[in-house]
Amino acid sequence: MAPIERPRYSCMLGGALATISALAGVVPVIHGAQGCGGGLFNAYSLGGHLGTGYCGGTGIPSSNIGEKEVIFGGAKRLETQINSTLEVMKGELFIVLTACMTDIIGEDVESVLKDIKNKENKPLIYIDTGGFKGKAYDGYDEIFSGLFKSYIPKREKNRKLVNVFGQVPGYDPYFRGNLEEIKRILERIGLEVNTFLTHDQTHENILSAGEAVLNIVVSPLYGVKAAKTAKETHGIDYIVTDFPIGAKASEKFLKQVANELNIDNSIVEEVVAKEKKNYYGYIERISDFVADTDIQSYGVVIANSTDAFAYADYLENEIGFIPKYIFITDQLSDERKDYLKERLENYKYGETPELVFEQDTTAIRNYVKERHSESDADEYQERLSPLVVLGSSIDYKLAGDFGGVLITVSYPVFDVVLNKGFAGFRGGNTLFETILNTQLKKEVKRIV
């Protein structure tokens, strides 16, 4: 594949580790070099200082194979490591993950697992996550697919239970706040919700995943593989929705889910009306400020394929900004690019923003600069200003080029992120608050 400048995601193993770090009671065991776990932990932490959690970081059991194992095989080392992990680490499920090197040398992990003297019969499964086999988002899908295939029991269906997929820990830096809000609004229409990755969840949520009647994937691409697997293994239907940010998108989302589950329309209408009353209550009170200060801006969105359209839609249809460009920063096949192009047509725009598949930070900056060059020669010129960039912390130069502001919505995010989220009704208010505050703190460099 072509080289990438500062990729905004890590590898298959990186996504798997990030996901497991947010799953209650799950302990990963890496079969790989010592640096895989250490480096990839530091990588997912850059999604808002996500941190070690229960058993991430330097707590991750890892076989730490070296030159000897690469030459002679690491099966023995893995066996010892698993046995000792079961002695030292407290967990309800142990997942052995492979790294690049163990996949290259062709380690037979399955046969090692058969030889483990697992006296207490602790659940122990293996998921192939060799780093070069995919990207972080794929690692997320591999973990949930693997759980459906090898771990989640087949139980009687609970007509009210749904699972939510499509938010990848770290690589969707606001995944916790987002999932909490999505859960909250789904509960309001009478559902029970497994998010798996938020702090309210226990291991029982993972075990109960097979009882769900619907898997809701809030990403056009990520989580879909897990949902397809669950359809095969547990007969759970799934829907792929847009990622909902703001009142309109949230209303659409709730109606889509309700429609799928035959929930009475009047229930949804009532919930939406109450949520909108609250949402617009805030908008009403901030409208003095908005109306008096001309906050409307041009927009550039730089994000992964889960979020990019949702942010642009929010700018256009929720707060009436002028989004000009959408940069999608994942590694995508031509087929997936075409699929996303089609999906963009479902959104309503006065003037549809330009969709660009580009992940190199410098190339993104140059792309915009080339199209909006400001020369000194002509003092009257059209400019890309005022500008709001919804991107990553490393996009600060682009925002600076146009005297704009940067809202860090996509990985890497160097700010601290706790329970902040941009999904749903509350998230829509939060995003507006964030944009306004960032604009307020902006140092005015050019007076017009």
């Binding site: 594949m1 072509a2 080289p3 990438i4 400048e5 500062r6 990729p7 890590s10 590898c11 298959m12 990186g14 302990v27 890496i30 070099a33 010592q34 640096g35 895989c36 776990g37 250490g38 480096g39 932990f41 530091n42 990588a43 932490s45 850059l46 941190g51 070690t52 229960y54 058993c55 970081g57 330097t58 707590g59 991750i60 059991p61 890892s62 076989s63 730490n64 070296g66 030159e67 194992e69 010892t80 490591q81 000792s84 992990t85 002695e87 030292v88 680490m89 407290k90 690049c100 290259i104 040398i105 780093g131 070069f132 990207k135 590694q331 410098t362 190339a363 912390s393 490393i394 160097f414």
Partner: protein
Amino acid sequence: MSEVKENIIQVNKFLHDYVAKEPKSREYSRNTTNAYGGDLENMLAGACNGCLKKCNRDFTQAIYCQNAVSTLMSMSIRGSVVIMHGPIGCGSQNHGLEGRTKLASIHRGLEPEEAIWLSSNMNEDDVVLGGERNLKAAILKAQEEFDPSCIFVLNSCAPGVIGDDIEGIIEEMRSKVKATIIPLHCPGFMAKVFTSAYDVVYHGVLQNFKFTQDDGEFGLDKTLPDYEEKRAQLTEKKNKTVNLFVASSISAYDEKEIIRLLNKLGLHVQTFIEYRSPEELKNVTNAALNVCLCHVHDIYFVNYLKEQFGMPYITPSIPIGISATNKFITEIAEFFGLKKEAEELTKKETEKVLRAVEPIKERIEGKTALISGGYLRNGSTALLLNDIGVKVLGFRHFNYDEFGNELFKEVRETIGNVTNSVSTQASELVNLLQKIQPDLCLTHPGAGVWIAKTGTPTLTLFSENFSYFGYRGVFEVARRVDRTLKNRKYVENLKDNVELPFTNEWYEKNPYHYISDFRIDEEEKIS
């Protein structure tokens, strides 16, 4: 300059072959160990006998690798672009260097640079076919888009295992790009001792950069009318110039403190190699003496400069704490025949800082601490804590070798024979803390969260934002210890409300239970 006096640590084993393709990892070149559990006395005895080379455990946890550590120095070279040659995950933590490098530059009055790095992005097909195509494309991209001063190519595990000939590929590309290309052989699996990275980077640096100006002197224009006069001035300056080798773990405050003291002796100071451009490295030979602020970091390079250019070097311990600072200054002063001046300076500074810390010391006297991180910094920090009345209960070193013996003999004399381990394992750390229960831990980043979860307050062992070195460091660390101990609520609340992932059986075991090549008596109590 009076008689030349060099204070260099004497060791049994320090393999270095500066013309080899790549350096050997420190397990081989210095018998560095990353697994030990016992006390200071035994570790010193073992290290003296060269028996501390067993690096195995039956239970291991993830940690850094030499590939990741190699990014620190290479990214800090001004104008560099770093290529992570391998699959996309290797180096994905590099975004973290952006803020760090920027802050370090600003603190040093330099224009902040973006930390630019590329992944050669090897996928499944590339792992089968080899990464040559990827690497060539990455090198061209680096040159075309960034016009860098130099391009570091960091080899990772996958190309290391499949045997990509990165030297050959780079040789082929040299004529096609303007920037100097530096191959760094640092696949993670090739070294358990991740500080091997420092030798890897210096090896690449010393083989690919120039360390003299083109005329072998100061690069002056010989046709200038005042050439001879300028040359004489610069020669005089050179004879009173010290090169200080810094590290990305050393803050600008710390550099400034040491420079302040050396300036008071009438010495000039240049710092290397972090935050310098390849062009600036040409001035490295325009100094009379090389001094490592941390010889664990730099000895490979200063020894090269001695062998290649006849530049003397000294290896005092890291100048943290009063005694180490006094020694650091005195050893440099002795080299320049300024012993008397140094005596006056260190005496005056010592008295001043002792007066300043006295009231703080009264408040924290008798408090206890564990220190965790790189061994040289650990040892010196223990001496500092001793200066301010804090009792050090033990050490946890990332790794250890005989280069630390001189310092740790002093540590043993000063603070006694305490618990001492060589470990990066979170499990061992938490187990040990349960047993020794210090009031405070000073720790390398990465381990702090485990300490905090046990309810023990932490202070970071190094930081770009704080002062540690010299007399200023003694006062500032004392203030921070005092402040930290004043309110422990954060860690107490944390401890009360989060669960650690270790079994009850684990806490009943000796923390070093799983060190497989060095079993200490299971019954032995950790005191």
